[in-house]
C-alpha cells in the first residue's frame, strides 16, 4: 500500500472539527467551577456548586433512579439483543425474518417522540402503572436494537469454521456456543451493554412519556431545570457525568491495550 499523506487541508479540517466537538464540553466543565451565579459571567474559581449539588436530595434521588434503570434495562437489552443477533446471523431465513429485521432497525432511527408516545399508550392500554418499570421496559426495547447491531456485526465477521471445528472435535452445539462463540463475541457484548447503559442514562424523551410518580430520572430533572434558565448546579452535574464517561472510556482503552501487550509479552 502506498503511504497516505496528510495535507494542510486535512490537518486543518481535523483541528477545526475536533475543536467544534470538544470546545462546548470544555467550556461547560470550566464554568462549572464558576463562583458566580450568572452562568456566563466568570466570577472566580469555586467548587461551591458541587457542594450544593450533593446537598440537593431530589437530584441525588433522580441520579439513583437513572442508574438503576440504566443497569437493569442494559442487562435485559444485552440478553435480548444478543439472542436477536444470533437469530439474524445464524438462523438464515426463518419465517418473519423481514418483519424482524424491520423491528430491529426501525427503533434506532425512529424519532424518540413516536417510540415514547406509542409505548406510553401501550402501557395505559394494558393497565400497567407508569413508573420505574415502564421506563425500564421502554429503554430495554430501544437499546436492545443497538446491542443487536453491535453483536450482529461481530458475528458476521466471525469465522464459522471455528464453530464447526469445535463440533467436529466433539462439542455439542450448546457447549460449542459457550466454549468458542461466546468468548469470541464477548467484547462486542460488553460494548453493546455499555452502549445500552449510556443510551438509557441519556434518554429524556422516552423517559418523559413513560415516567410516573417517584420515577424521575436525571435527564428529566435536568431538562426541567434548564427550562427555567441556566443553572450552575446543572453545570456541576454535567461536569461530573462528563468526568465519569471520560475516565471510563480512557480506562477501558488502557485495559484493552494492556491485555494486548500482555499477550504479546507471553510470546517471548
Amino acid at each position: 500500500m502506498t503511504m497516505r499523506r496528510l495535507s494542510v487541508f486535512n490537518v486543518t479540517s481535523l483541528v477545526i472539527g475536533f475543536a467544534f466537538l470538544y470546545l462546548p464540553i470544555l467550556l461547560l466543565v470550566i464554568y462549572s467551577f464558576n463562583a458566580s451565579r450568572l452562568v456566563t459571567v466568570w466570577g472566580g474559581f469555586s467548587t461551591h456548586w458541587y457542594g450544593a449539588l450533593f446537598r440537593n436530595e431530589a437530584l441525588m434521588e433522580a441520579a439513583w433512579v437513572t442508574l438503576r434503570v440504566a443497569f437493569l434495562s442494559a442487562t435485559l437489552a444485552t440478553l435480548l439483543g444478543t439472542l436477536a443477533a444470533l437469530a439474524l446471523a445464524r438462523y438464515g431465513r426463518f419465517p418473519g425474518r423481514t418483519l424482524f429485521t424491520g423491528m430491529v432497525y426501525a427503533p434506532m432511527v425512529m424519532p424518540e417522540v413516536i417510540t415514547g408516545l406509542s409505548l406510553l399508550l401501550f402501557f395505559v392500554a394494558v393497565g400497567f402503572d407508569r413508573g420505574f418499570w415502564t421506563i425500564t421496559l421502554a429503554h430495554t426495547t430501544l437499546t436492545m436494537c443497538f446491542v443487536t447491531v453491535v453483536v450482529q456485526s461481530r458475528l458476521m465477521t466471525f469465522d464459522r469454521s471455528l464453530e464447526e471445528a469445535a463440533m467436529d472435535l466433539g462439542a455439542p452445539p450448546l457447549r460449542t456456543f459457550f466454549s468458542v462463540t461466546l468468548p469470541l463475541i464477548a467484547p462486542s457484548i460488553v460494548a453493546g451493554f455499555l452502549l445500552a447503559f449510556t443510551l438509557s442514562m441519556d434518554d429524556l424523551v422516552i423517559a418523559s412519556f413513560n415516567t410516573g410518580p417517584g420515577a424521575t430520572t436525571l435527564p428529566i430533572k435536568i431538562y426541567s431545570a434548564v427550562r427555567l434558565g441556566l443553572s450552575p448546579e446543572v453545570n456541576a452535574a454535567s461536569a461530573i457525568l462528563i468526568g465519569i464517561v471520560t475516565v471510563g472510556v480512557i480506562s477501558a482503552t488502557l485495559l484493552s491495550k494492556r491485555s494486548v501487550l500482555r499477550s504479546r509479552r507471553n510470546s517471548h
Binding site: 502506498t2 497516505r4 499523506r5 496528510l6 487541508f9 486535512n10 490537518v11 479540517s13 481535523l14 472539527g17 475536533f18 467544534f20 466537538l21 464540553i25 467550556l27 461547560l28 452562568v39 456566563t40 439483543g81 439472542l83 436477536a84 437469530a87 438462523y91 418473519g96 423491528m103 432497525y105 426501525a106 432511527v109 425512529m110 424519532p111 424518540e112 417522540v113 413516536i114 417510540t115 408516545l117 406509542s118 399508550l121 401501550f122 392500554a125 421496559l137 430495554t140 426495547t141 447491531v149 450482529q152 456485526s153 458476521m156 465477521t157 452445539p173 449510556t198 424523551v205 418523559s208 435527564p219 434548564v226 446543572v234 454535567s238 457525568l241 462528563i242 471520560t246 471510563g248 472510556v249
Partner: protein, 301 residues
C-alpha cells in the same frame, strides 16, 4: 433420540422467538395502538380518550373510529407547516453535516494508521456524554450575553450582542453538533477502505485532483454518504430536544408539536395522529435505511 432432538429444536427455536416476541409486544403492538387512538375521540377522562378496545363491542369499536383527528390536522395548517418545516430543517442540517463531516472523515482516513483508532475514539467520545448536556452547553454559548458574543466582541468583530439563540440558526448548529459522529463514522468507514492507488491511477491518467475527487472518491464513498445522511436525517425530522432548547417559540417542528399536544394540551388522540403523520413522512427513508444496513451486514458473509 427423537425426544432429545425435539427438546434441542425447541430450545434452538427460543433464540429468535424471545426477542421477536419482545419487539412484537413492545414495538409493533404499541404502533397499532397509536393508529387506533389516532382514530378515536378525545374524552375528559383518565386516560383522556375513549377505551382502546372492548371485546363485547366489536361493531361499536369499528363504528367509533373516524378520521376526525386527521381532518383536524388538515384544517389547521399549523401541522402542515410544522411537517414542511421539520423536513426542511432536517434536510438543510443533513447537507451541513455532509459539508462539515466529509473533510473530518477524509482527514481521519488519510491520517497515519496508528492514529486512526485514536481519532475514531475521539469522534465517539462526545457521543458517550449526555445528549441533553451537550445541547445545554450551547445555550450558554449562544445566549445574547453568552460566550460567543463575549469572544466576538473582545476580538472586535461585532459590537452588538449576537441574537442567535431561539432562532433556526441555533437549531442547525445544535443538530450539526449533536449528530456529527453519526455522519463522520459511516463516511470514515467507506473512505478508509478506499484504495489509494485508485486516486494515483486517476492522476496518472491525467485527471486533476479536484476532478478525481468528484469522479473517484465521492462515488466510492456513496454507501457511507447514504448511510450517514439517513442516520442523521430521519431522527432530525422528529427531533424534540434541540428545537425546544435552542429553537425558541417560532421554530416549528413536528416532534415538538407532538410533545405539546401531549403534555400541554393533553389531547392524546391528536398527538397520536401527529405521530402517524410523522411516521408517514419517515416511512420511505426508514425502509431505505433498513435495506442499506441489512445489505451492509450481509456483505460480511
Amino acid at each position: 433420540m427423537t425426544d432429545r432432538t425435539l427438546t434441542r429444536r425447541l430450545s434452538a427455536g427460543l433464540v429468535p422467538a424471545v426477542p421477536y416476541l419482545w419487539l412484537g409486544v413492545l414495538f409493533l403492538v404499541p404502533f397499532l395502538i397509536v393508529l387506533k387512538i389516532s382514530l378515536s375521540d378525545p374524552a375528559v377522562a383518565q386516560p383522556p380518550y375513549k377505551p382502546v378496545f372492548e371485546w363485547s363491542d366489536i361493531a361499536g369499536f369499528f363504528s367509533a373510529l373516524d378520521f376526525e383527528n386527521f381532518i383536524l390536522l388538515t384544517e389547521d395548517d399549523l401541522y402542515f407547516r410544522a411537517t414542511i418545516s421539520s423536513v426542511r430543517i432536517a434536510a438543510v442540517s443533513t447537507l451541513l453535516l455532509l459539508l462539515v463531516g466529509f473533510p473530518i472523515a477524509y482527514g481521519m482516513a488519510r491520517a497515519p494508521e496508528r492514529y486512526r483508532a485514536l481519532l475514531v475514539a475521539a469522534i465517539i467520545l462526545p457521543f458517550w456524554t449526555s445528549f441533553l448536556i451537550r445541547i445545554y452547553a450551547w445555550v450558554a454559548i449562544l445566549k445574547p450575553e453568552g460566550l460567543l458574543t463575549q469572544v466576538l466582541v473582545a476580538i472586535g468583530l461585532i459590537s452588538e450582542p449576537l441574537d442567535i439563540l431561539n432562532t433556526e440558526t441555533a437549531v442547525y448548529i445544535g443538530i450539526v453538533y449533536a449528530y456529527l459522529p453519526f455522519m463522520v463514522l459511516p463516511l470514515f468507514a467507506t473512505l478508509e477502505k478506499m484504495d489509494d492507488t485508485l486516486l494515483e491511477a486517476a492522476l496518472d491518467l491525467g485527471s486533476t485532483p479536484w476532478r478525481s475527487f468528484w469522479t473517484i472518491t465521492v462515488p466510492l464513498a456513496m454507501p457511507g454518504i447514504i448511510a450517514g445522511s439517513l442516520l442523521c436525517f430521519i431522527p432530525a425530522v422528529g427531533e424534540f430536544v434541540i428545537p425546544d432548547l435552542l429553537g425558541g417559540s417560532e421554530t416549528l417542528m413536528i416532534g415538538r408539536q407532538l410533545w405539546s399536544e401531549f403534555f400541554s394540551n393533553r389531547d392524546w388522540p391528536l398527538a397520536s395522529a401527529v405521530a402517524i403523520l410523522l411516521l408517514i413522512v419517515l416511512v420511505v427513508p426508514i425502509v431505505i435505511y433498513r435495506d442499506v444496513e441489512a445489505r451492509r451486514l450481509e456483505a460480511h458473509r
